[in-house]
């Protein structure tokens, strides 16, 4: 088909092209081109233009100078040699930016697809399970019943000390992985530079430093302890005051956290913060301003009056405030802050592009997700027994006392139990 079109076009051109050729008809010696009449205005030296520096030569002088030093001209394949060389150099210049690419193309070093972990599955007990698996695969720990010294091959060989039951005294430093067949206790100010695995229950003393710990039994972590990486437990975990909880703390049972602890991620069924004085949630709402009785919608915010009852999802670009003792069976999304005032109950999820504040005595049965900070007040419950819900905050979580969270709490900022 294309050949046909091509031939038709060529025929048309021969038929309809003007004859007689181009004007200014002196043929050049090479018979291929004719010299064009040089337009006067284009070739005139612009004499009133300032000549730079000492180069006051006129074009005539330039030509004259060149005339007296006329070089020989060698032709190769009908083309002047210098032009051929120039062409080769030009092509080399053009190839230069492609050269590293050509090397990568023909001797590739980075041609594999981006690595994806095809078996990755989000697991709040990821760290503990991985460690457990490493020990099991490397040492067959399920079958170990006697104390001893072992070597585990990780990125480098690691010493593993298996003990019957462990008791580490005050201010001791342990440089090897500990595998404890029964219970384990540490004194105060001890430092554990490698992981610990405890089959029984575990009590960590005050002001210890732990790299990572897995405990199959109950676990208590003493005051002021710093966890560098993670803690994982199969049973109840109790964290005392002032601990720094590293990357992750996870328990499949109860996780109790005292005040002044900082964290990134916690999982517990449930997570409980310290017992404090319960808040007073007044049963009567005193009418002081308009929002005590009326829904107020301004440019900046929506305020729903106390005891509001909502049964449809809400999406708003304004700050939204649920005044006290409100009830919503709905998902709430706001591009600004979400404030849930005391005693309210939200049976749904909260999503905020900014911050979420849950005041005292509220219940949120769904997830809380914030691109900013989340503040959870006294005696708040998030989630329900038998279910797992999450509190996710990009920039930080502040949690007061008497809080119950069924599931997961995570922040990429700083999490604090106040």
């Amino acid at each position: 088909m294309s050949v046909k079109y091509f031939l038709i076009l060529v025929a048309a051109i021969f038929l309809f092209a003007p004859t007689g050729g181009v004007s200014a008809q002196e043929s050049s010696p090479r018979g291929k081109a004719t010299m064009a009449p040089v337009k006067q205005e284009a070739s005139t030296v612009i004499s009133d233009v300032e000549q730079p520096g000492d180069t006051t030569k006129t074009t005539q002088e330039v030509s004259t100078k060149e005339t007296t030093n006329a070089p020989d001209r060698t032709y190769l394949l009908g083309v002047p040699q210098y032009i051929l060389i120039t062409l080769l150099v030009l092509m080399a210049f053009i190839l230069i930016p492609f050269l590293p690419g050509f090397i990568e193309l023909f001797r590739p070093k980075d041609e594999k697809p981006l690595a994806l972990n095809m078996n990755f599955s989000k697991d709040y007990k990821y760290f503990g399970k991985s460690f457990q698996k490493i020990l099991e695969d490397g040492l067959g720990t399920k079958h170990i019943t006697e104390p001893g010294e072992y070597t585990l091959m990780l990125s480098k060989p690691e010493k593993v000390r298996v003990v019957e039951r462990g008791r580490v005294s005050d201010q001791k430093t342990i440089d090897e992985i500990l595998y404890v067949l029964a219970d384990f206790t540490s004194g105060s100010d001890a430092e554990f530079r490698k992981e610990i695995y405890v089959r029984g229950s575990c009590k960590i003393g005050d002001r210890n430093t732990l790299r990572a710990l897995y405990c199959e039994g109950d676990l208590v972590i003493g005051e002021g302890t710093a966890v560098i990486r993670w803690v994982d437990g199969d049973r109840d975990i109790e964290i005392k005051e002032g601990c720094r909880l590293g990357v992750s703390v996870a328990s499949t049972k109860r996780l109790a956290v005292a005040r002044h602890c900082s964290f990134s991620r916690m999982f517990g069924l449930p997570i409980l913060t310290y017992k404090a004085k319960l808040p007073e949630i007044l049963s009567e709402i005193r009418v002081k301003n308009i929002s005590d009785t009326t829904m107020v919608i301004s440019k900046e915010e929506i305020i729903l009056p106390p005891r509001t009852n909502i049964s449809n999802d809400i999406v708003t670009h304004q700050r939204i405030v649920f005044r006290g003792k409100s009830f919503a069976k709905a998902n709430i999304k706001s591009y600004r802050d979400i404030i849930i005032e005391e005693g309210s109950r939200i049976e749904g999820n909260l999503f905020s592009e900014r911050n979420v504040v849950i005041e005292a005595g509220c219940t949120i049965t769904g997830n809380i997700f914030s691109q900013g900070q989340v503040k959870i007040g006294n005696a708040v419950q998030v989630g329900q027994e038998g279910k797992i819900k999450s509190v996710i905050a990009k920039k930080g979580v502040l949690v007061e006392g008497n809080v119950t969270i069924y599931g997961y709490i995570m922040t990429e900022g700083e999490g604090k139990v106040l």
């Binding site: 092209a17 181009v22 018979g31 010299m35 284009a42 233009v49 730079p52 030509s63 930016p97 590293p100």
Partner: protein, 267 residues
């Protein structure tokens, strides 16, 4: 989610866990780095403004040296003209109009490329590039076939345009690099070096490109002016910028991937 752990206080051996690619970023460069960088760019632009005519003259001198060995030397003239209130030089050679038979050959070759090459096993990107170039050349050939008297340019026009375009390119190089290099976490010195290197490369490259252009127009006629202008002009300079940028970024990436101080997570 993988995170970095700061363990220096405990004395526990640090094990680096790198940020996952999904949300990692680099810190915003401090504002106090922007001003000096901008100033350096402005200084380069001012220097270019002041010295580009001299650079241009140097390029033209070398081009002239090549040309006089290839075309009748009395035809190679250097002419002064003006650009941005500065005097610059351009080279002038006599141009030539294509003879009828030459125009026809060009036309047929262009048609061949447009219609026949796509049917061959030539890789498609090359076919497309050749086709686009051939379409431009086809227009040129048709023009010279039907209305050659109306061709509006002499070589001096083309030459002036070419030199001005090259100088505009020189002015654009620091600006383009300013945009694309500023965000990268590397030293100001290396960025300025890239700009200077590319300018030098461009200047050297132009000696050879200009020679070939003028030779083609002088010996093989104006019919090639359009394709030279559109296909071998600024596009090639852009390839250099992209090529050198990719080399720079590749080196930087290799250097910084395991440097935890460079990276942030989420915000």
């Amino acid at each position: 989610m993988p995170r970095q752990h700061n363990e220096s206080q405990s004395g526990i051996a640090k094990e680096l866990v790198y940020y996952h690619r999904s949300y990692r970023k680099i810190p915003v460069p401090e504002k106090r780095h922007l001003i000096p960088f901008l100033c350096l760019i402005i200084i380069i632009e001012v220097l270019l403004y002041l010295f580009s005519p001299d650079l241009n003259y140097l390029v033209n001198r070398y081009t002239q040296k090549i040309l006089v060995r290839s075309v009748p030397f009395e035809n190679v003239n250097m002419i002064w003209t003006e650009f941005l209130w500065r005097s610059i030089t351009v080279l002038n050679v006599p141009g030539s109009y294509p003879a009828m038979w030459f125009t026809m050959i060009n036309l047929i070759v262009a048609l061949l490329i447009v219609f026949i090459i796509p049917q061959t096993k030539t890789p498609k990107p090359i076919t497309v590039a050749l086709t686009l170039m051939s379409l431009i050349h086809l227009v040129s050939a048709l023009f010279f076939l039907f209305v050659p008297d109306r061709f509006p340019y002499q070589v001096i026009d083309f030459s002036t345009t070419y030199v001005v375009m090259v100088m505009v390119t020189w002015f654009l190089i620091p600006v383009v690099y300013g945009f694309i290099l500023y965000p990268l976490p590397s030293s100001v010195f290396s960025k300025i070096f890239m700009i200077v290197f590319t300018l030098t490369f461009s200047s050297a490259f132009n000696i050879f490109r200009y020679s070939i252009f003028l030779y083609l127009i002088n010996v093989h006629s104006f019919i090639f002016m359009a394709i030279l202008f559109f296909c071998f002009g600024f596009l090639l300079d852009m390839i250099f910028i992209v090529g050198f940028y990719s080399f720079y970024l590749s080196l930087l990436s290799g250097k910084l991937q395991h440097d935890m101080d460079v990276w942030q997570w989420l915000y």
